[in-house]
Symmetry: C3
Subunit: 158 residues, 3 copies
């Protein structure tokens, strides 16, 4: 086990929880850690490209795709979303405080070398295809996660 490895399972696709994950990941990477993020379930939505991607899907997969937010720029607070007003307020405050947006945080994390792994089993169940996700994402399952977690000294589930 190395003191300089961290993993986070990004299960949540909520704006607030995703920001927490990215702030920790970016901070740990900036301090010299090797950070691996595993995106699973709703967390996968954070990795979706904002533009529609032409892929063949069956009806249910297409429905899931329509109902779920397309990318980190579309996600909402887990609390106080209030029909969008709370989320917009929070994003406005973050802007005035010069806090990066969530898509910017994600891009910065990738620039800092944080490794992104999308959970292939969740992708299969939710009907999300590799082409629909942003660049720089690797693909793996629970074995890949456990391999990284075994070597890390901080493992979080967000």
């Amino acid at each position: 086990m190395a003191d300089d490895k961290k993993t986070i399972i990004v299960f949540s696709g909520d704006l607030d929880r995703a920001m927490a994950a990215m702030i920790i990941a970016r901070g740990a990477a900036a301090m010299g850690n090797e950070v691996t993020l595993f995106f699973t379930f709703w967390g996968l939505n954070l990795l979706r490209r904002p533009e529609p991607v032409k892929v063949k899907k069956d009806l249910l997969a297409a429905m899931f795709g329509w109902m779920m937010p397309r990318g980190a720029g579309k996600v909402s607070l887990s609390k106080m979303h209030m029909g969008g007003m709370g989320t917009a307020m929070m994003q406005h405050v973050m802007k005035t405080k010069n806090v990066p947006t969530l898509p910017e945080m994600i891009a910065e994390a990738q620039e800092f070398g944080v490794k992104f792994i999308a959970c292939t089993m969740s992708m299969d169940v939710m009907g999300i295809k590799e082409e629909e996700l942003i660049d720089g994402v690797e693909f793996g399952g629970v074995a890949a996660y456990l391999g990284s977690a075994d070597e890390a000294n901080v493992n979080l589930f967000i």
Copy 2:
């Protein structure tokens, strides 16, 4: 600390979070890890027997019992439940993809030797009796959790 021990606190009783817990637990056990799951708060509902169990309860405990889902076959998605439609859609997709149901995942985890501990303090507060839970569950408190977590190299809270 051993590299082959893992613990998960299963706090959530949501279908999606419980599936994540079970997929990690089952995967880790299959790879030779000693895995301990601590079921607390809403997570206890995952361990309830599906059939009614005759136990003496006061009114409030009985009310909690009626309001909470009876077993892993009754729980809902934390997001997109949509009055049951989203949860049913997800379960349908899982079936077509040959992903086991949550009760099947739980049974498989037990077969793989994953240890299940129900939090006695939560059981007391929520009025859940030992007889109401599925077979193969042990009982313990925060000291039991900490004892296991101290020996594990991956500890998650889900």
Copy 3:
């Protein structure tokens, strides 16, 4: 890494999740661990003083302040809140079972020497000032968290 250090990121401000955090923190401290809690996002509300505190805020910060619960005595269950009835029922049951209230658990954790750190970045975004928080809280950011987590053998995100 020492076997006797633990950290918890208290992200959630829900009654049930906060209780879980406090029960683990108090238990670990009672067993001789050095426990550090990082309060961030909604978790910060748990540290707010119950009485109004006169501080200068801009309109958005003031609005956030009004909308969010003022202190651990005001927070709700994440599930079955039911317009307050579920939360009141749970608090009633806890009282009859002699389980301490959440504010009591927080005070006890502090007495047991659990270190409380409020996330300065979240405070800035949510417009929460140091004077609004209870006594005995330190202030720090992600670097403070990572410094503690690197030395701990159990790190949870709640």
